[in-house]
Symmetry: D2
Subunit: 140 residues, 4 copies
């Protein structure tokens, strides 16, 4: 399946830990950066979602598997895919690969859409559902 989003993934000088590889927790920063970039590319920038104060989609779960070390100075790409969304929740899947296509880390995040008026889960808004599907929204 084609990724919803793919982009560069940079291991920064300061992402390295005392064992000499990217700190394991930093992959969740990379996952989230890809998610933010994807939402912006689909016309649903996260800062605008937050500013509207209507609904929000916090994480309820995150996980990662580490296959090969991520090193400073090597080039990676990150791919983002979405499982078919539920009524009020959705699962995103991420893969970080090197330029030879070898998998270094993969993982998932699970989000629930919360109505900020009721503070309870709500149906996924149509614009969010669209941003999670392969079809780009059309204007006509």
């Amino acid at each position: 399946m084609e990724p919803l989003y793919t982009g560069p993934c940079t291991v920064r000088f300061q992402d390295i830990d005392a064992a000499g590889i990217a700190f394991y927790g930093r992959v969740f920063d990379y996952f989230h950066d890809a998610y933010v970039a994807h939402l912006a590319a689909r016309g649903l920038p996260l800062h605008q979602v937050i500013a509207r104060r209507s609904w929000i989609m916090p994480l309820v779960h995150a996980e990662a598997d580490y296959r090969r070390p991520l090193r400073f100075g090597e080039a990676y790409r990150i791919e983002l895919r979405a499982d078919p969304p539920g009524r009020s929740s959705y699962t995103l899947r991420y893969r970080i690969v090197d330029l030879d296509g070898q998998l270094h880390a993969e993982g998932a995040t699970v989000h629930v859409c919360i109505d900020l008026t009721t503070d309870r889960p709500r149906e996924l808004p149509e614009e969010l559902r669209a941003a999670l599907s392969m079809q780009e929204e059309r204007s006509g």
Copy 2:
């Protein structure tokens, strides 16, 4: 089951994200800080393990579930427990609770012990196995 380690868990001013709560990836920093503090308390400081260059125990998996938001200025505690270890791997479990005992986040990390000479998994060293058990090492 009693935790192997319990200690304060501080959400820093700079751990907050644009949605106003601790960034989800920061819980893995909190998990790892508790792990480092536990190893040091058991006489196996991680920086010494790294400096010896004999074996190392990288993560192969990490996960977290988010139950309630973690906020700047509130006080939390973190608890660390270990599953019965395998031959060359071990699983640590973490819980972040507030002072009323309410669970905010929980998760796990899975580590494999690697022999740095062969670059392959090895049996857990006795000192590491001891650090993962409830019995404090005895001297006599």
Copy 3:
């Protein structure tokens, strides 16, 4: 001059950079953590200042000098001092020393107190001025 505040300063496993020492930018995290701890110790917790939405004290300047490397696994202390405050601004000074008293990093931050109604500088509130002085506030 005695510090206003002194406390432990921990270089975390994940604060290390690809050159093997604490990333230079992390000292500003350490500075700010000491500032937050000092304000809390003086009964003016930063999260409560923020929640009141009356005034805030953003930074206008920060600087650091690096004397010796900061390493994972070594123990440091941080000291915080304040220059005599101005009308609406104040300067904090920080020193990070090892247990032999050797200086590893030092620096300063300059803050301006902003009235959130007018969005302009205001006189330092008395409770903030007290928190920056050596005399602990008295109750009677």
Copy 4:
């Protein structure tokens, strides 16, 4: 004076602090990311410098002035300039501006080139001196 390097500067979702703007320490991450990108663009990638173990150029000083808040979701650019280098040290200057050209933060870092054999300052290597000058290196 034209910048040596100019590139996008992204305030990440997780760079925000409890006061709702980018944490002041994060500008030093942005400064360093620009420095790393510049060195790579000039054919002197920092990870290769580190791997050679011949010389290194740690910071001895860093500073920043904060003119306007940096916010999640707004677009910025960062510019890097170099002062005329000294014998063994050099000063880099950074400006973070928004798309209207308004200055949000500016600062500087001072680096000293250290010979890893003697652990003492050394003359700036020619390739480093070239990377700090406006003239791109020529091949013939």
